[in-house]
Amino acid sequence: MLLLRGQVNSGTQKSQNQSIYGTPSGSLNSTALPGQINGFGTGAGQSRAIYFTVSAHYAYKGKYIADFTSRTDGSTKFGDSKRWGTFPALSLRWNVSDEDFFKNNVPFMSMFSIRPSWGINGLAPGSEALFYSKYSAGSSYLNQSTIYPKNIRLNNLQWEQSNSWNLGFDLGFFNDKLTGDINLYVKNTSKMLMSSQSIPTSSGFSSLDYRNVGKMRNQGWEINLNGNRLVTAGKFSLNANLTFANNNNQLLEMESTILSKMNSEFNFNNGQYLTYVQLKNAFGSIYGFKYKGVYQYSDYSADEIPGVSGPNAPVVKDKDGNVILNQKGRTKPMMFAYGTTSEYEFVGGDAIYEDINYDGNINELDIVYLGSSLPKMTGGFGFRLSYGRFSWNNQFNFRWGNKVINAARMNAESMYNTKNASAAVNWRWRVEGDVTEIPRALYNYGYNYLASDRFVEDGSFLRLNYTQISYTVDPKVVKNLGVSGISMSVSMNNVFKLTKYSGADPEVGYGSYGIVTDGAQTPKSKQVTASLTVQF
């Protein structure tokens, strides 16, 4: 079977605006009102696109199935030579369980098929006319109007292409009592499009509107299992389902200049977690200092003198934890950002950050990897218990192995400003000798809440998303009442969650280049619904 299709899109847009002030009434908004005109303008735009697809479908004996499609796209967003993109896709399916040798040898599998597929997708940039050299009107000089070159023409802009491979299996066991599918996929995106890419300003421009900048890989797997009446005993039956998945993104290739622009620099401020994208590493890595508690004393002494000095004081120590002394036999102070304008000397009650390189200076060289925002696994499962006309349905979801930055807790424990603080600050360090996990209070000063693992928490959770108990009244009984069916149910959403996360809700969105930060998002509300359905 062969199918040919084509489509033409054409869009135009025009805009006009006029602004008036000093109108007679605030509730009227016609442009015809008397008033002072202080601006008007017009704009116009146009875009077109064309595509053709050819698709073919072939099936032999219901066992061997092949699909092929090819899509050719043309767009006004690219210049003449790069305008057309052709994106083929091929998918195959082999129903192995329909083969005689399989039926004979693997009787417990009622269904087994293999689905490999491959395809290319194209993506065009979001703006039009990038391949033109454009000129615009500038401000006047000597009362004469002026024109200036507005952009750098993009001769080399191309379609972003993503090349996807997928290997799927459909499974059925014991007469489809247990069914499932497994999908493994890899998507390689090449010629990745990114907007406003910085270039040296010695060109006269600070950026190119778009560039094809690199390669990215998205890979993962997904498993779904369904048990249909898995267990039955008399009136009792059990259905269950289970799904879990893993997915990660990484950059394979990118120009170093673009990478260094994407990555933020440590600016010696509190609470700043660095975003750092590295080639061949998954996105969402969290970097910061290692938090080691609070200095108990300002002054050092090898043995504690209660209320005066002790071993837990801000002095420089070597690899083995021995205190380093200077020529005069004195200890050396622990510093922050030595030699910069943010220089600070730690005292008792300040946060201890691990001096990774033992140089007595806490700076960007002491920043280490603290974990990934991406879960090792996500998924869900559910089960339904039925007993006669009663059924009880439950659906769970989970995430496992991801880290979340609890920014809400950071702000509430920072004691840096006059905003609300959490009750935990009552345990803060107050006098020499206090042993606590919360540093002292400093108004607009100090470095007691630098980005550190103190606020990086495990975001794993298990949530009962949904539970429902329902009952269907016996049709015989119902008939006597003159209606055709009655059922009733009680359900509840977001029943409970199990997590070690201390914030309101660990289910914070993830997936882009950045890191996952929870600024006290509103937790999901609990809802209880009771329903009664009567069918006449």
Partner: protein
């Protein structure tokens, strides 16, 4: 039959595809595109004026002040200044300071490059575009480009040297920095080759000072040769400028007769501070108030009642709604003027009253000023401060600037002369210029010279510093002083004098500034960090290399 059908359908498909290409060729409706542009001479003129428009953007003028004066002993930051500006006035400049971006100057350069590239193409298309007009336009664009590079090398020393327009992404944008001397030689030879093509006189009166003329190119060449250390060339180009001004003065006299107030002061045609014995302020009002004055050579023009205004002056010097801008005069300039012990201004110096009023910079801010100083105490002062939407033209070159370049070159030339008599005559030439300019502003033309030659003629050093001091007084707040200091340091081969001059201004971190500025590289600005990130061939000025690995222990 089947074959024919197949061929027909393939042909039809081919036809639709090629017509599709036409269908997909859309020209943007909001912009002018290259394909429809560069067809007539008006197009060249528009982009050429766009080059000026960008050079007078407040971003560019602010850069001229940041690079040329904010680090000098003329200016300190006011408490209202933003931190990045304060750090520059305090000479604590980091590569992350947004004010060290040079983007706006390269934008001007790119526009000039665009004109230079496309103007000859237009000449082929437009029969009305004569070869002389083409040459004049190219000369103008070349001069603007040279001026930008001259600013850039004085600020950063080595910078990327780009002479082609950035048209499309086939070009290589990552360009390594060229050396100061190479760029200086290049722009000098560029200017030498176009100077005879430039316009001598425009039809529009104000264009003679607000667009590049032959006289402006001569002034630029005098300045560049002074930096290069070619004293003879500097003197001869300065003389060419003076000759032109004398010619214009004679023309003006013929036209205006006895209404012409311009006088020859020590052989220089200058606007007097007082007309017919009246109050002082006349020169200021003409040069900085009205703008496009007789003494002007090249300035960036702002029109009254237009949306474009000189917001640099409003924001940094002040306006009548906000008299205190981000910058203030250094205390040294204001103390003890009336007592007569100020090291810069005498109590008779009109320029003090014109430039400074109670902790505020008033140059370019006042529209009009008049006062009397005949007794050495100021009386009768009346001034009108410009409102916001300040239309003050920003002056890049004016006659006294070029004359003082000549004086400096003459003093430096004397250094190489063994013959005392030759040396003395050079000194006298230089002194004549200085005293002429000083006489004008202290209004004592009639009652004898204000400076005494024998007080300064004892050595090269005293003569040189006299010229520099007069430059400081005359060109104060015009974005020149720091460049003067850099030029002196380059000549000396060390920063001792530069440091000695600027150190009294700093109330904090004096020793740190002393140590930092002992390094010759530190008198230039660092490249912006973001620029280094995208330009991998650029190497940071060693004086500003990140001290990431400062070891504490």
């Amino acid at each position: 039959m089947k074959k024919i059908k197949a061929i027909a359908s393939i042909a039809a498909l081919g036809l639709t595809l090629s017509s599709c290409n036409d269908f997909l060729s859309l020209v943007p409706l909001n912009d002018i595109v290259l394909e429809n542009f560069w067809t007539e001479k008006a197009d060249v003129e528009s982009v050429l004026l766009g080059t000026y428009a960008q050079l007078e953007s407040s971003d560019a003028i602010t850069k001229m002040s940041i690079w040329g004066e904010m680090r000098s002993d003329n200016i300190v930051g006011a408490s209202s200044a933003n931190n990045d500006i304060l750090q520059i006035t305090k000479d604590n400049i980091l590569e992350t300071n947004s004010n060290v971006s040079w983007k706006v100057f390269y934008d001007v350069i790119n526009r000039a490059n665009t004109v230079i590239y496309y103007a000859p193409i237009v000449a082929d298309k437009d029969p009305n575009y004569s070869p002389d007009e083409l040459k004049a336009n190219v000369a103008e664009a070349t001069a603007l480009r040279a001026l930008c590079y001259f600013y850039l090398i004085r600020a950063y020393k080595d910078v990327p040297y780009v002479t082609r327009p950035s048209k499309d992404d086939d070009e290589e944008f990552i360009v390594a920095a060229s050396k100061f001397d190479d760029i200086l030689d290049n722009i000098i030879s560029d200017l030498e080759s176009v100077k005879d093509d430039a316009v001598n006189k425009y039809a529009k009166e104000e264009a003679n000072t607000s667009r590049i003329t032959k006289c402006a190119i001569n002034a630029m060449l005098a300045d560049m040769y002074l930096w290069k250390g070619d004293w003879d060339k500097c003197i001869s180009y300065a003389e060419a400028v003076l000759d032109r001004k004398i010619y214009e003065w004679e023309e003006l006299k013929r036209k205006e007769g006895s209404d012409c107030v311009i006088e020859l002061i020590k052989d220089m045609p200058l606007i007097p501070e007082t007309v017919a014995g009246g109050d002082l302020g006349n020169a200021y009002n003409d040069i900085f108030g009205k703008g496009n004055s007789f003494e002007s050579i090249f300035e960036l023009a702002f029109m009254r009642n237009q949306s474009v205004s000189n917001s640099f002056v409003e924001d940094y010097y002040g306006s009548n709604s906000n008299q205190s801008g981000s910058l203030q005069p250094n205390d040294e300039l204001m103390n003890n003027v009336a007592a007569g012990t100020n090291p810069v201004f005498t109590k008779y110096d009109a320029r003090y009253v014109e430039n400074i009023n109670s902790q505020h910079i008033t140059k370019y801010v006042n529209d009009n000023i008049s006062f009397n100083l005949s007794t050495g105490t100021m009386t009768n002062r009346s001034a009108s401060i410009r409102p916001s939407q300040n239309p003050a033209n920003w002056i890049i070159y004016r006659l006294t600037d070029v004359m003082l370049m000549k004086a400096e070159a003459e003093v430096m030339k004397a250094k190489d002369q063994a013959d005392v008599a030759v040396q003395d005559s050079l000194f006298k030439e230089a002194f004549k210029i200085v005293v002429g300019i000083n006489n004008r502003s202290t209004n004592r033309v009639a009652s004898g010279d204000t400076l005494k030659y024998t007080n300064y003629s004892s050595s090269i050093r005293t003569m040189e510093e006299l010229v520099l001091l007069e430059r400081r007084r005359e060109l104060m707040f015009e974005g020149k002083r720091w460049f003067d200091l850099v030029r002196v340091a380059r000549r000396d081969g060390d920063t001792k004098r530069l440091v000695a001059w600027i150190i009294p201004k700093h109330t904090e971190n004096q020793s740190a500034i002393r140590i930092k500025l002992a390094d010759m590289d530190a008198i230039y600005f660092p490249y912006l960090k973001d620029e280094l990130k995208v330009n991998t061939l650029l190497k940071q000025n060693p004086a500003y290399e990140e001290d990431e690995y400062i070891s504490k222990n």
